[in-house]
Symmetry: C2
Subunit: 381 residues, 2 copies
């Protein structure tokens, strides 16, 4: 690459090799370790997918049972972490809390990986399991409710809803929640995953790397799009208003959130799966308002885009917010729920980065001043 040319945001620049997931943007396909996302959503669950991401293969029955046990044993929060949640400033965002808690947890475990490519993070799994508990504790303590300790007999998704509500969710709710985690668990070198890899490349701990990735996911250009989709749905209010809303937005050259993706030229395969969940949960709850509004938005948007010769399709964020809303999850928790899922991908990337590591140290192009002479403050004008 010539010294005067560079790719802003490293777009199109290959940063590393990776065997974790494959995004085929033209065919609209996504796979983890070779398994199609549709198959994993249909047959697997979040714990098994976490195993798959971390160990590069599906577990045998005994391995899966041991792994589930280990993850479930790591769910409960220690007293100092609960204190952090309790004393966290009222106006603060739960992503700030999660970033802080992840780094704090680093102090609790034997994970010293200095001068070594590996740590025992695949055994401890606190950094995966405790995110859900921290998010649920944050929501309850903020609302003046008591902390609900985790239940080891529930799936990761069902247990999250249980801790959030203080009551066991319906079976279908727990299952949909868990599947939502499956399809959000991994998606290549996005900014948060790349952050995790850069931090891991210094041979810092996996907790430090996960904490840093949280910081990236918190940014409004990264996590948070599904929150904005639901803000749009609330603004539209009823399906009859949707087409006019979309046309006005497009006339005003506003971005319609949840539409299009840098990687996919066709419909994001995760959007198809989420649409089915939204249909199911809407039927079960007898409330299809969100779904109807979203379908009208999609129809009106695609009609305009096809006229302009630009086929743009819904992405993963288009339906997920409505699913979460129907599960009773407040909007502020959408990005933390994203983090609950993506942590498994982050951790897989941290492990992969360390195996054949080189510290990230790119160059920059100097655009600053020529040499200047220091002038004492008394003589400055």
């Amino acid at each position: 690459m010539a010294e005067t040319a560079y790719a802003k945001g490293l777009e199109g620049v290959v940063a590393a090799e990776s065997a974790i997931s494959l995004i085929d943007g033209k065919a609209g396909k996504l796979s983890y370790r070779g398994y199609a996302i549709e198959d994993l959503a249909r047959h697997s669950d979040f714990e098994e997918v976490t195993y798959l991401l971390l160990y590069e293969r599906l577990p045998a029955r005994g391995q899966l049972e041991a792994f589930r046990r280990s993850m479930r044993q790591g769910r409960d929060l220690s007293a100092p972490v609960l204190d952090m949640v309790r004393s966290f400033p009222p106006g603060a965002h739960p992503m700030e809390l999660l970033q802080s808690v992840m780094a704090y947890l680093s102090g609790y475990v034997e994970h010293r990986i200095q001068h070594s490519a590996l740590c025992n993070c695949r055994q401890t799994l606190h950094q995966v399991a405790q995110i859900a508990t921290t998010v649920a504790a944050f929501k309850r303590l903020r609302a003046g409710e008591s902390y609900v300790p985790p239940r080891p007999d529930l799936s990761h998704g069902a247990n999250f809803l249980y801790m959030l509500r203080g009551a066991e969710p319906e079976a279908y709710e727990g299952e949909i929640m868990d599947k939502c985690l499956v399809i959000h668990a991994e998606h290549g070198f996005n900014a948060s995953t790349f952050t995790a890899r850069v931090v891991a490349s210094t041979l810092s701990t996996c907790y430090s790397s996960i904490s840093a990735a949280m910081g990236a996911l918190y940014g409004s250009l990264h996590g948070g799009a599904n929150e904005q989709v639901m803000t749009m749905v609330d603004e539209i209010g009823r399906k009859e208003n949707a087409a006019a809303w979309v046309n006005r937005a497009l006339d005003d050259k506003k971005k319609v959130i949840g539409m299009g993706h840098r990687e996919y030229k066709v419909k994001d395969p995760r959007a198809n799966i989420l649409e089915r969940y939204l249909v199911e949960i809407s039927e079960k709850k007898g409330d299809s308002r969100y779904y109807e509004i979203l379908k009208e938005v999609e129809r009106a948007f695609r009609a305009r885009m096809e006229t302009a010769g630009k086929p743009i399709y819904p992405n993963v964020d288009f339906f997920s917010g409505a699913v979460y809303s129907l599960l009773g999850i407040p909007k502020q928790l959408f990005t933390p729920v994203f983090a609950m899922a993506r942590v498994s991908g982050w951790l897989a990337h941290v492990l992969e980065q360390r195996v054949d590591n080189r510290i990230y140290r790119p160059e920059s192009l100097y655009t600053g001043p020529e040499p200047l002479t220091y002038i004492p403050v008394e003589e400055r004008v």
Copy 2:
């Protein structure tokens, strides 16, 4: 760049433009915003250099006074942060605490920068000022001593030593400490600074970005080299042993820490400055043991390297650990002291990244399996 070739660790790849510092590796020169590091070390101080990095120019007298006031007002820790320090696990590293505290502080201030390139972090400065206080509090509370609140009449460096010791340092000690912060404040796109920029590119908060950078600096391939230099000095014990130690290390193909730098082909300009400080403090304290050992190591190392036709010189880490040790700073705090200084550079990069932002999203080269068929757990072998 061809899809099949890539630069590991992004070595040689330009990731962005930057006007903050210039490293001239061939001439052995480093400048911040056009000012030579030697001039800044001689005439300036850490607060002024922080202003220079954040505002792109040296301040007028009134600006400097207001900036000092603001930074000093931000030094004291709140009760919840002191609680975090207190309840932090005994075996944990202070870098883990710093990463956690930085993210926690994000909740305390009005810094919402969603959809905006700017935040008010140049006004609050908690993330710069409170690192020193957190480090000092960590050291004292761990040792069973009480928290020493900051003093607003001391420089950043002198106040750090005051909080660490509970007694005012000698004037020359405070000055050397402060100058050490000046020369460590900024150094281009190293892994921690790059991490800060990647996180900032998502439009996360500056606290989130600084916290993430802490995680990268914690890695043993990034911060921590000066700690290893002092471990070597302790192992050597007396100057008479130095040459034999170095020759044995080189015969065993071991790396001699503190020698050589990816960026500099000649002596790191910061090493020259630190050597002068080490001479001064050794004289003042009447203890030149560290200095004598280090000079013998340098002499023996360079003799061997010149014979091999590879001139390799001391880098910034070679003398700094000895300076810190003579100032009474324990080895475990060396990387946190690095963070105390580098935060100003990180923050300058966060601000610069946001002005003409594009989210970092590089590509990866897929090396994973071909499509696989999901097999239910009962049927797996």
